[in-house]
């Protein structure tokens, strides 16, 4: 965190000392794929533990991510800050006239990062650039188990877990600029690194394990990110 802070400070100083620069505000959203293999294993193992048949109706599907950004454009490259918010989840479900069972897992991450892009091709108003983002992955997992039978709520338990890791996302984006507005598409692959598993409690002593108890589970946000972006560029003239 300290290192990230230092980088942010460096960027701000750089921006302030620059004689000619464009400020760029952007917002990107799109579909991300999420590995989450550890959590998926929970879903696969759960039916074996239940007395009745269930169905995995949702298993960490592709889902929208949102990424606002702020940066500076220099000649040939840009540097900035991004904030990535992504979420996905799963549900094991069963319901009939007698009641309902749900096992929901919702996971999301709050991920500030630093983005650097390099122009590869600039033709007319089109710009093709490679980018990479390096950031933090602060994940939150909420597990809710609910069982209602014969109009009696038998189980309604919620467990919250956290995990902190890092990510690196390389990719490309293709932007069409018109005046100070830019519209683009991008594609990348988020690579999570860091080894922290989901945990609860003050001292991270309670960890989330697979049902067989052998391996602790950590978030796995690895996956493709395909999105569309809108940019607004502001030119700042040095006095």
């Amino acid at each position: 965190m300290r290192r990230i802070f230092q980088i942010v400070v460096l960027i701000v100083i750089t921006v302030n000392n620059s004689n000619s620069k464009d400020l760029s505000f952007g917002f990107q959203t799109g579909i991300g794929t999420y590995s989450m293999s550890g959590l998926k294993n929970l879903n696969y193992a759960l039916p074996e533990l239940l007395a009745f048949d269930t169905k995995l109706v949702s298993n960490f599907p592709e889902y929208w991510y949102y990424r606002p950004s702020f940066g500076m454009k220099f000649k040939g490259f840009g540097i900035g800050l991004v904030y990535l918010y992504q979420s996905t989840g799963s549900r094991v479900s069963a319901a009939d006239y007698s009641g309902e069972y749900r096992f929901d897992m919702k996971v999301k991450s709050y991920s500030p990062g630093i983005c650097v892009d390099v122009n590869l091709l600039h033709l007319y108003n089109f710009q093709f650039a490679a980018y990479s983002v390096l950031g933090l992955l602060s994940s939150k997992l909420k597990i809710t188990e609910y069982l209602n039978a014969m109009e009696m709520e038998l189980v309604n338990d919620t467990y919250d877990f956290k995990a902190h890791n890092n990510y690196f996302e390389p990719g490309f984006n293709f932007v069409y600029r018109y005046k100070f507005i830019g519209v683009g598409i991008s594609g990348g692959y988020l690579i999570q690194f860091g080894k922290q598993e989901f945990y609860r409690g003050k001292y991270q002593k309670v960890r989330l394990y697979e049902f067989d108890g052998r391996e602790a589970i950590k978030p796995e946000w690895n996956g493709f990110r395909f999105g569309i972006s809108v940019y607004c560029n502001l030119s700042i003239k040095a006095k």
Partner: protein
């Protein structure tokens, strides 16, 4: 867009960030399972359930073994309630539930069993046991904490029949029947489920039986016991007037269990014992006494031989199968435990008197074979008996000592209510109680310790005369004559307060017999050991005489004119007129001994042993 717009441009992304946080993934799809809400209830079959009746009697802990089959829905759980309080839940279709005897109060309780089966709908609730068919049944439990046990016996068709209360405990298994000997040791003889048992081996030997109730949980309950009285029949002794004697017993109640009786007869006299043994059939009730003479001590032992194996019938315990009876051969005129003073006096032709148990005088008729009178004299301050009983020659009067002060009583033998008591210690001196011979007219002779003879009129309580140096022995019926001893044995006439010597014998004759005829006041008899003579009293001349060389003259029956004599091993009845032998009764005792003295009364010989021999 320029710097002025920067604020607006910065706010927008922040707002966007807040907005997309609300766009978190939310799973919404629901899987609707297939479940058939309407299914028929299952059929429950009882494979095993040891609660056979609606009412369960509990005498101890009881294990309820259960197993049910439910089709098509399976059994999920079985719940046991006692008095509506859940006791146990079994998540199975079979198992064991313990009815806790010790935890339950005595009295009535309720057992409820609920069987929960799957509903069969396949629903979530069905799978997690929230939906079920319930079958239930209730039993009444009666906890018996204080129960009495009894055992009864009866005779059934010649056998012993034992019965006891039925054990209604629901986990009852069987009864265990024990035979108990007199020490209390128990031996198992039978295991059975019926509450009665016929013991074909029991012959009435007594002892006991005990029964225990065995429960299926291994608990043993003492269920009853009985102590049977000894029913080996008691014997009774009978003797006919022909002196044929038998012992007789009642037919044994358990006659069908009897193989035979072994009768062992012991006849003893002195140190001689004669043993005979005979075997009688189970139907016999009589044993003839053989080889026993008048006065012999006889013991008869009756031993019952069981027909079938009797656990107690072994040599060390033969006593349980025995009945013993001891008696003296002869007709007993005594009651049970009655002691007799050895002196017997004839008071009528067929009656005699004796002192019984030292506290009463009994008059007994040999012809009637019954007591015809009794006198029990109760002293004012101390119960004392009669002592030194004497009778007048005909038996009209009796004298004896009574009271703590040993006063002299005069009794009319015809009427025991007619008696008088007087203190004659001024004549006899204190602590000296000589027998007082008395005449049939009430004149007695009293000897004191200083060899002084008093002639005392009991009618008027007047001292008629006194003489020194003489000891009166007999006084005639009319009190005219007295046998006395001074330097010789003398016959004297008492006349005008003086004694006139009639006859004397200075020779020391061994064991002479002399007495006055009670009916002829001028007659006396005299036996010197060889010759027996009947004499005139006034001059002691011989009226007639015959040789009588017997060992002893015991008694004379003046009614029948017979003499009872004894020679070794024989009692002889002889004619008083000529001494001819009328009857010879062999005996093994010695009647010249006071305790076994014999007297001739009516047509019987009466012994101080308490027995009568019939002469006809």
């Amino acid at each position: 867009m320029y710097v002025d717009n920067i604020k607006i441009e910065l706010i927008l992304p922040v707002l966007v960030a807040f907005i997309f946080h609300s766009c978190e993934y939310e799973p919404t799809e629901v899987y609707q399972r297939q479940a058939n809400k309407y299914v028929a209830p299952p059929e429950i079959q009882i494979v095993e359930l040891n609660l056979n009746n609606d009412t369960i009697y509990l005498y101890s802990d009881m294990a309820v073994n259960f197993r049910f089959i439910s089709t098509p829905q399976e059994i999920k759980a079985i719940i046991f309630y006692i008095d509506s309080i859940k006791q146990k839940t079994v998540y199975s279709d079979s198992g064991i539930f313990d009815l806790p005897y010790n935890d339950l109060e005595s009295g009535t309780h309720t057992l409820l069993i609920e069987i929960y089966t799957a509903s069969g709908t396949g629903s979530i609730a069905d799978h997690i046991g929230m939906e079920a068919f319930i079958f239930s049944k209730t039993w009444t439990i009666i906890v018996a904490k204080q129960f009495s046990y009894t055992m009864e016996s009866a005779v059934y068709n010649g056998f012993l029949k034992l019965s006891w209360n039925e054990c209604v405990a629901s986990n009852f298994e069987e009864y265990i029947l024990y035979r108990c000997d007199e020490s209390g040791a128990q031996t198992e003889i039978k295991r059975l489920t019926a509450s009665e048992f016929i013991d074909s081996s029991y012959v009435g030997e007594g002892g006991g039986y005990a029964v225990e109730a065995s429960l299926q949980n291994g608990k043993i309950l003492e269920w009853g016991n009985i102590e049977l009285p000894d029913c080996i029949p008691d014997m009774l002794y009978y003797i006919t007037e022909t002196n044929q004697s038998i012992v007789k017993w009642q037919k044994n109640k358990f006659y069908k269990a009897i193989d035979s009786y072994v009768i062992t007869q012991y006849v003893s006299y002195g140190r001689i014992h004669d043993k005979t043994e005979s075997i009688n059939g189970p139907a016999d009730t009589v044993h003839n006494i053989i080889n026993a003479l008048f006065g012999d001590n006889v013991k008869v032992i009756l031993r019952v031989i069981p027909k079938w194996n009797n656990l107690l019938y072994e040599s060390s315990q033969y006593y349980m199968f025995k009945s013993e009876f001891s008696f003296i051969q002869g007709y007993s005129f005594l009651c049970n435990n009655e002691n007799i003073d050895y002196r017997i006096y004839q008071v009528k032709d067929d009656e005699f008197v004796y002192v019984s148990n030292q506290d009463s005088i009994i008059r007994y008729s040999v012809s009637k074979k019954q007591v015809t009178g009794s006198l029990g004299y109760v002293a004012p301050e101390c119960p004392t008996g009669f002592s030194m009983l004497r009778a007048s020659p005909s038996g009209k009067y009796l004298t004896a000592y009574v009271n703590c002060d040993e006063d002299v009583i005069l009794i009319s033998s015809d009427n025991f209510d007619d008696y008088s008591v007087r203190n004659l210690k001024h004549l006899t001196d204190v602590y000296y109680f000589p027998a007082i011979p008395i005449s049939d007219n009430g004149i007695g002779i009293i000897n004191n310790r200083w060899n002084k003879l008093y002639i005392y009129d009991f009618n008027s309580d007047v001292l008629l005369a006194q003489f020194n140096g003489k000891m009166g022995l007999r006084i005639s019926s009319n009190s005219d004559y007295i046998f006395l001893r001074d330097d010789s044995l003398r016959l004297v006439q008492f006349k005008d307060s003086t004694l006139i010597n009639i006859w004397s014998e200075s020779q020391n004759i061994t064991n002479p017999f002399y007495e006055f005829d009670p009916f002829d006041t001028n007659r006396a008899v005299f036996w010197d050991g060889l010759s027996f003579s009947v004499r005139q009293c006034d001059n002691f001349s011989i009226i007639y005489e015959f040789s009588l060389p017997d060992y002893d003259v015991l008694d004379i029956n003046y009614y029948n004119q017979e003499i009872l004599t004894y020679s070794e091993g024989h009692l002889y009845i002889r004619s008083l007129s000529d001494g001819s032998l009328l009857k010879d009764i062999p005996v093994n005792f010695e009647p010249d001994n006071d305790a076994e003295a014999c007297f001739l009364i009516d047509n019987t010989i009466v012994s101080a042993k308490g027995i009568i021999y019939f002469l006809n």
